[in-house]
Symmetry: none
């Protein structure tokens, strides 16, 4: 714990309150401020800290955790109000905020370090706060024009709440979050918007796929409109690319829709010759999607391609998983990722073990020798 405190947190929404809870859990003194007395009282009652007032001790760090369109104003004001504090913000867009603070705060801006913890959820407000929100998540630190000491203070703050600091330029950050966050958010909303007028019997057929695609469509329009407008250039570029891909896809699919009767039957069991152009177009988009999806680091089918996956049949009996892990350990192989395809009523599950490619064959042989059924991937 390198953060001494006190830490003044401006804005007791999801991020501000979660950060406050994480710091309080680590014993750091936290002062809270919010324009909404209700939100402030809720955060205080959750144990996130005490309301900031004129008698509060001077903060070591001020964290501005409010929507991006109002962030720069408040950062500038806080630099003036607390002349010895390091000031940071957690807004999802960085270039405009950083540029505006530099332009308006002059030399004082050296005490400002823009940052962006890559954490959030589709619910907003203090009530959704979680002291573990930052655990294991990247925390972008944009410190190229800041005092190195100020940057270190913010890096330590990130580490102290379990996040991993990642240094990035503001422009690089904004392009990255446009691709991994802002564009997907808008597309999810566009898909969900199509459900507004859908019939009940059709909605009743909804499955987990639709739920997952549209989960973030439940996000706060007020916050997100500020984020999107604050990062309009990179977001618009990506949407244009999606739009071009979509237009080409529609043309091919409509061509298929118009010629269903041109199919010629070949041997039973063989594929029809319906609209090979549309098949090719859909296959191409899907295959590109497969590739892109596989590049996302982390869980659920998203293991980075640099790992090989070993699949093993695991009997549904107590102790079998423990025995599998013991045998993997005995083989001297480190597990990079692991998941289990398993459900009640089945006599066996499939363990998906991601390992470095060089280790895969040896692991398969070792597990085979121990009597495990290794499945072709």
């Amino acid at each position: 714990m390198s953060t001494r405190g006190p830490v003044l947190i401006i804005g007791t929404g999801l991020l501000g309150t979660s950060l406050a809870l994480a710091l309080r859990a680590a014993g750091v003194e936290v002062q809270l401020s919010d324009t909404s007395p209700t939100s402030l009282a809720l955060a205080r009652d959750m144990g996130a800290g005490v309301p900031h007032d004129e008698d509060s001790p001077e903060p070591q760090i001020v964290v501005v955790a409010i929507p991006p369109d109002v962030t720069a104003d408040v950062v500038v004001a806080q630099l003036a109000a607390h002349p010895h504090a390091v000031v940071t913000d957690v807004a999802s867009v960085k270039e405009r905020v950083v540029a505006e603070v530099r332009a308006r705060a002059g030399a004082e801006a050296r005490r400002y370090v823009g940052s962006h913890p890559m954490a959030g959820r589709e619910r907003s407000g203090a009530a959704a706060a979680d002291s573990d929100l930052f655990a294991g998540r990247p925390w972008v630190v944009v410190g190229q024009d800041s005092d190195p000491e100020a940057e270190l203070v913010i890096r330590n703050l990130a580490v102290d709440v379990g996040a991993t600091p990642v240094r990035m330029g503001a422009v690089e950050h904004d392009a990255a979050v446009a691709a991994v966050s802002h564009m997907p958010q808008l597309i999810a909303s566009l898909v969900a918007a199509r459900l507004e007028a859908l019939g009940e019997s059709a909605l009743a057929l909804s499955g987990q796929g639709l739920r997952d695609v549209t989960r973030i469509a439940a996000s706060d329009p007020r916050l997100w409109s500020a984020i999107i407008v604050g990062n309009a250039g990179p977001v618009a570029d990506l949407l244009r690319q999606i739009s071009a891909d979509l237009g080409a896809l529609i043309e091919c699919i409509e061509a298929a829709a118009c010629e269903p009767d041109s199919s010629e039957h070949t041997a039973p069991g063989a594929a029809h010759t319906i609209a090979p152009g549309a098949v090719g177009a859909v296959t191409d988009v899907m295959a590109r999607g497969n590739t892109g999806r596989a590049r996302i680091p982390g869980k659920h089918g998203g293991a980075p391609r640099r790992y090989a996956e070993v699949q093993v049949l695991v009997p549904d009996a107590a102790g079998e998983l423990g025995r599998l892990f013991s045998d993997i350990g005995a083989a001297g192989v480190n597990i990079e990722d692991f998941s289990l395809e398993h459900s009640a009523g089945q006599s066996a599950g499939i363990a998906l073990i991601s390992v470095l490619p060089a280790a895969a064959q040896g692991l398969e042989e070792a597990l085979d020798a121990k009597g495990w059924r290794v499945v072709a991937g």
Copy 2:
């Protein structure tokens, strides 16, 4: 259990093998057939049934579980091969398949009942099969031109594997799945396709939102191109609507991107007056997305959960997973499902352990006592 069996399942992919496992779990005799000997052997080894051959007893039901573009041919062939069986298929598109079978099989088509269990996952093949795949899911039965007795046989089959039969016309079905399944699938693939060329540092910022939006982008291109082309009309209509919404949104966002300097500062802390048109357009799309998302049936917009999830922070060090499994075993708790959220360069991953709800609190306490960091779900 009204299904007497034997049930002959043609195609040991995800749906066919899952159905076979569910029927076997209920004691029904299952015969399996697949053009791939590897897939057939895997399904057999998983306990899904025995390979069908000339000496097999005549089936009561034949289930054709192969891609939609080849379904009608095989249904027609099976109606001829098994003159006393009820034949069904599980293809995701119904109008073309039903029409083709009616046109080609004549009066024999009265023994055919088109159906579509609303179940699936982004992984395909027998290795991903799950006897619980149909539990609690709708199973569409398109029986308007079938013998009522044949329709009843298929409704009972659905009930016997835990699904809920839903009667629908073929056209109504195809329009519904275009909206809740086919269009979202293509849009998820378009989003994921944008990640193909994205830099590693940007990808490292990926969060759960992107993972959820793109999860189904990992689906099989061969299968999905046949589905989309088989339902081209309704899918193209929806994509046109998305495209129009997207085009309007891009125009408003680009207007904001071009006029960032026209903002006028008002009082500190107040919203800027940047591009109110763009703010309005994004807010509108997001609000419509909120409304559409909220219409998806299911508690909190999520799938009904049979299991409780315990989340534990796992240090990235050799042996930690083995120690975790050992501690879970010592607590006497059976793991229903397990996955690891883990990405390179992070000092810790998060293990997601699914257990019966009654066991969750005890497991959390046991792991806490062993020094594990249990994360709020």
